[in-house]
């Protein structure tokens, strides 16, 4: 237990010590998205009745920040320690692979949540926001952070170089998060792209998270919860198998 809690504490301290870069900067980025998109689209787009476009946008931006930063945390921590060689400090001790997984994913979730709360606090001034189903908000934030934290671990373990990780981030994570309904409802899309969006697991994370605020969503929140939970289980299992076998960590 001490091994797990120490590793978790170390991982949290790692991002907290450079909080300007890991927490404040993503909050500013999300704020800029909000300013630009709400300024351009507020008068033209109405997704749900009684919900302004700016209010609709805020939960999407919060969740997008949670997801992107959870991924960034675990992936950058692993690739940095692999490239510098300091990964051996956590490979030599008697830490079980389950504890190793939990510590990295939980730290990733905490970084994601720190940024998410920051974005929420910074954007509250722009539009009144309901909070109809807080449990759904918490569930999707944790599960979404957990999924992207696991994905970050997989990418960090798999990548041998920083550019491989950047490719994973830019060609997989960014398109999936941007095309997940953060800025629009998928009902506004042509039928073909609506069907494509249903294959994007991040769409369900955003939609379920947004349901917690407004009590309305594009698909049933239960369906979103099931899909997100299954994704989390599959990615956790894959990460645990990689860690157990020592894939790219132990020769």
């Amino acid at each position: 237990m001490t091994g797990f809690s120490t590793l978790l504490y170390k991982e949290v301290l790692r991002f907290w010590k450079v909080g300007f870069q890991t927490v404040a900067a993503p909050v500013i980025t999300a704020l800029l998205y909000l300013l630009i998109f709400s300024h351009v689209l507020e008068a033209h787009v109405k997704v749900y009745e009684n919900v302004t476009y700016t209010a609709f946008l805020i939960p999407g931006l919060v969740m997008m920040s949670v997801l992107q930063n959870a991924f960034a945390n675990s992936s950058s921590s692993l690739i940095q320690s692999k490239v510098t060689g300091s990964i051996i400090f956590v490979l030599l001790p008697p830490i079980s692979y389950q504890a190793f997984y939990l510590a990295y994913v939980l730290a990733a979730v905490l970084r994601g949540l720190s940024v998410g709360v920051g974005v929420l606090l910074a954007t509250l001034w722009f539009a009144p926001l309901d909070c109809r189903e807080p449990l759904w908000i918490i569930a999707f934030a944790f599960l979404g952070g957990g999924i992207l934290g696991s994905l970050g671990m997989i990418a960090g373990i798999w990548a041998d170089k920083f550019d491989q990780l950047a490719a994973f981030q830019n060609f997989i994570i960014m398109p999936l998060t941007f095309l997940s309904g953060v800025f629009y409802s998928i009902h506004s899309l042509p039928p073909f792209w609506q069907r494509v969006s249903h294959w994007n697991p991040i769409f369900y994370m955003i939609d379920g998270f947004r349901y917690g605020f407004f009590g309305i969503s594009d698909v049933s929140p239960w369906m979103s919860l099931c899909i997100v939970a299954v994704c989390f289980a599959l990615l956790s299992a894959l990460t645990l198998v990689m860690l157990k076998r020592g894939y790219k960590l132990r020769a």
Binding site: T2, T6, S81, S86, F89
Partner: protein, 297 residues
């Protein structure tokens, strides 16, 4: 133990026992398999066949117990740039299941003092010199008081002061009962520290014996002579002599042999410019073993 990396054979059937409390040397040229062996011991490398036990704990099946027994100082100068020296050591304690306590803090202070790191305890790792970072690596390996300490070239590229401080501390730990396994390219260090030595070449053990026996078997005292211009050794001595860089070395086993040797030189009228007596040394043993055993494989 065997281990291949693609077509490269890193360990080709190494079989070794290190006794508890020994100061054991693992020597060999680059690529001999020393670091692979240590990595397998530490669970960083999976063997293709064979098994390793540390104080009776299998490094795969019982890996958590095995790793508790082991403190490894890695060869590479690695560090986590986010943290200070004390934070680094506190984390390492926690990873090994040692929670915050006065005893833990006292032990960390003792390590810092013994490695002359006290003044740097709160400095960030990035700000330390290479030698200081090396000291922190040693400290990290010792925080959980491991019964077995493995040092993989711990003095590579470090100054004399650190070497002396380090060996003083490691000797003390060895006297207190810690088993020490050392790899180094500084053979005089191995000779003075290790009670037993294994020499590896191309993934095989080519020599394994006590340091004293190795020195006796492969090296000897030698009378070293630099002859005056035009001088020649008498025929009886020239058969026994090895000539290298215009220095003639005549090996002998007992000091009583010196007087007859000198008498023979005097009688032959052979002029000398320099004369001294060389001790047996591990470098000679190493060169011979690598040359002879490498060829007979």
């Amino acid at each position: 133990m065997t281990k291949r990396f693609g077509s490269v054979v890193a360990l080709a059937g190494v079989d070794l026992d290190v006794e508890q409390g020994e100061f054991f040397g693992l020597l060999g040229p680059n690529g001999a398999g020393k670091t692979t062996l240590i990595s397998a011991l530490a669970g960083l490398v999976h063997l293709d066949s064979g098994q390793i036990e540390i104080t009776g704990h299998d490094v795969v099946r019982d890996y958590r117990q095995a790793r508790r027994q082991l403190g490894v100082v890695p060869q590479e100068l690695v560090f986590d740039p986010f943290f200070s020296v004390r934070e680094t050591l506190n984390f390492q304690c926690g990873y090994f299941g040692i929670g915050q306590s006065r005893e833990r803090d006292a032990w960390i202070d003792e390590i810092l003092e013994n490695l002359d790191l006290t003044s740097k305890a709160n400095a960030n790792m990035r700000s330390l010199s290479g030698g200081m970072k090396r000291r922190v690596l040693v400290a990290q390996a010792l925080v959980h008081r491991p019964p077995v300490i493995v040092l993989d070239e711990p003095t590579a590229g470090v100054d004399v002061e650190l070497r002396q401080t380090l060996w003083q501390f490691i000797r003390r730990l060895n006297r207190d009962g810690h088993t020490v396994v050392l790899t180094t390219h500084y053979l005089e260090e191995a000779e003075s520290l290790c009670s037993r030595i294994a020499m590896l070449k191309a993934g095989r053990v080519v020599a394994l014996d006590t340091t004293a026996s190795l020195l006796k078997r492969f090296s000897a005292h030698a009378l070293r002579l630099r002859l005056a211009p035009g001088a020649e050794l008498p025929p009886a001595l020239s058969q026994r002599a090895e000539i290298k860089d215009s220095v003639c070395s005549i090996a002998f086993d007992h000091f009583a042999e010196i007087e007859p040797l000198l008498a023979e030189l005097r009688n032959s009228g052979c002029g000398l410019n320099e004369l001294d007596i060389g001790k047996p040394d591990l470098e000679e043993v190493f060169v011979r073993v690598m040359h002879e055993r490498g060829e007979t494989r």
